[in-house]
């Protein structure tokens, strides 16, 4: 594996990487605009991170994630800065997950995106709770209030609402990244072993199924407590 990574690093010149990182970070930031324009209830701010982590490697993806939130703090204010850690974690999981061969098949890639969503939520929840008091400014705060009303504590409630949004966001982002990677020049993607990109229409149903399943499980746990 290490020799394969070394070969890839030699083939792609540093100037190409230095030029690709800003493009991926800018695409992450523009994801916010795209989300607003398409009126979507998810973030779409890690697609560039996923593409870079899979194509160039986990640490280049992590750099894209960190740059995204640093530059975003110059655009939308400093509240996005602490979430750089979440973006970095997402890049490392996508990058190493792919490097270790977890995303070779369609089912494997789907599960890899679920793992990214779970670990991103685990990283984001302490930031939401201890810096923003559990508030996200997103309509998922309604779900947080509902879990609180069911008797859960703040950390569990914020995690419960965040994981639902995160699952939908990271699975869809993963498959959009897959479609983008498929459209990239062959010299960048010839070593990659990935499933064929599906149309999003075929992905939405499993995504909805996973989100509803997790929601039911979380509510059952809250009621049982």
């Amino acid at each position: 594996m290490a020799s394969k990574a070394k070969t890839r690093a030699v083939r792609i010149p540093l100037t190409y990487v230095v030029a690709l990182v800003p493009v991926a970070a800018a695409l992450n930031i523009v994801g916010g605009t795209i989300r607003s324009a398409l009126q979507l209830p998810i973030f779409l701010d890690m697609i560039g991170t996923a593409v870079t982590a899979i194509v160039l490697g986990p640490w280049w993806g992590a750099l894209v994630g960190a740059i995204t939130n640093i530059v975003n703090s110059f655009i939308s204010g400093p509240i996005s800065l602490p979430f750089a850690v979440v973006n970095v974690v997402g890049a490392l999981v996508w990058g190493y997950g792919h490097r270790w061969g977890w995303g070779k098949t369609n089912v494997g890639f789907f599960l890899l995106n679920i793992l990214v969503a779970f670990l991103c939520s685990v990283t984001a929840v302490p930031i939401y709770v201890f810096i923003f008091g559990g508030a996200t400014g997103h309509f998922s705060d309604v779900m947080t209030a509902a879990f609180l009303a069911m008797g859960q504590n703040l950390i569990v409630s914020v995690f419960s609402s965040n994981i639902l949004v995160s699952l939908a966001d990271k699975i869809i982002s993963g498959y959009v990244a897959l479609a983008i990677i498929e459209a990239l020049p062959a010299n960048l993607t010839q070593n990659l072993q990935l499933p064929k990109a599906e149309g999003l229409n075929r992905i939405i149903l499993p995504v909805v199924g996973v989100v509803i399943g997790v929601a039911v499980m979380l509510v059952a746990i809250a009621v049982a407590n």
Binding site: V18, F43, G77, G137, H138, N201
Partner: protein, 296 residues
């Protein structure tokens, strides 16, 4: 929250704050960040926030600053609401009043107000820095204090690419709509995003060749087109910012009487007004958001 995209940029002007080098402004910003995390005393945080508003007034950036505050409005409401009923604070908590299945806690109101003021302090000083300093000046100053030029290039290039990619996305979306594509919802993601990214990758190849031809990555002293001066006045402002941060932090850490979390009490009328005000505002925001999603 990560997806919020508000076009904040430098507000042209010639105020005393505009004329200061970005580094002293950064020192003030970092200093206020430290102070905001050292204390939860709402009066101290309120005082620092008012100082920030004084700087906003001197810099004459009120309209742009208010746009940012409006973006923070929903998160402010939910922060107050969630903290009132579930404080991010060590137990035990003292109840003020019961509202249906919820209890409003003294520590919750205290925590909500202090967290909100903390966010406002950090945002205000960051906005003063960002809105009164040209991004190129910020990055040139950071290079002077040791930021590698490769990183500097990546940061500057990212900022420059954002409006270009936004414009390309709008063009692609309009072109797809003119061919009968639905312009909203999940079905529109791939047809609008893939062409933008692939177009950007073609730009990367051109940029890469351009960088190679200019010997990017070679050794030697790097120079910058944009020169940023650092004079005596800047040094004094920077020293004042660092002294303010150090003295305040020392005072806040060593004086236990400044912890009002268990002594400050709020009346039920105040707590209910805050809770229902934030709740109604939050529900209005949710209804608006749901309407947007359902019409997608």
């Amino acid at each position: 929250m990560q997806g919020i995209a508000v076009p904040i940029s430098v507000v042209p002007g010639n105020s005393p704050i505009h004329r200061i080098n970005p580094l002293p402004k950064m020192a003030w910003m970092v200093g206020v960040l430290v102070i905001s995390f050292v204390t939860r005393n709402p009066v101290i945080l309120g005082g620092v926030f008012l100082l920030g508003l004084l700087f906003v007034t001197i810099a004459q950036i009120w309209p742009s600053y208010l746009r940012v505050v409006m973006i923070l409005f929903p998160i402010s409401l939910t922060l107050i609401l969630l903290q009132s009923i579930a404080p991010a604070f060590p137990q035990p908590w003292s109840p003020i009043v019961d509202v249906g299945p919820f209890t409003i806690w003294q520590e919750g109101i205290y925590s909500g107000l202090s967290l909100l003021l903390r966010i406002m302090c950090m945002t205000t000083f960051a906005m003063v820095m960002i809105m009164t300093s040209h991004p190129s000046d910020i990055f040139a100053s950071m290079q002077k204090i040791g930021l590698p030029y490769t990183m500097n290039f990546i940061l500057t290039m990212t900022l420059q690419l954002i409006p270009i990619l936004q414009s390309e996305f709008n063009t692609v979306l309009k072109a797809q709509k003119s061919r009968g594509l639905k312009g909203t919802g999940f079905a529109a993601i791939l047809p609008s995003m893939v062409p933008v990214f692939v177009g950007a990758i073609e730009r990367v190849q051109q940029l890469s060749i351009s960088l190679e031809s200019r010997a990017f990555g070679s050794t030697g002293k790097k120079t910058s087109y944009r020169q940023v001066q650092f004079g005596l006045k800047d040094a004094l402002v920077m020293a004042a910012g660092m002294a303010f941060s150090c003295i305040m932090s020392y005072w806040l850490l060593t004086d236990p009487t400044l912890d009002w979390s268990r002594t400050l009490t709020f009346s039920p009328a105040f707590a209910l007004t805050l809770f229902f005000g934030a709740g109604i505002g939050f529900l209005l925001f949710v209804v608006l958001a749901l309407r947007l999603v359902l019409t997608a």
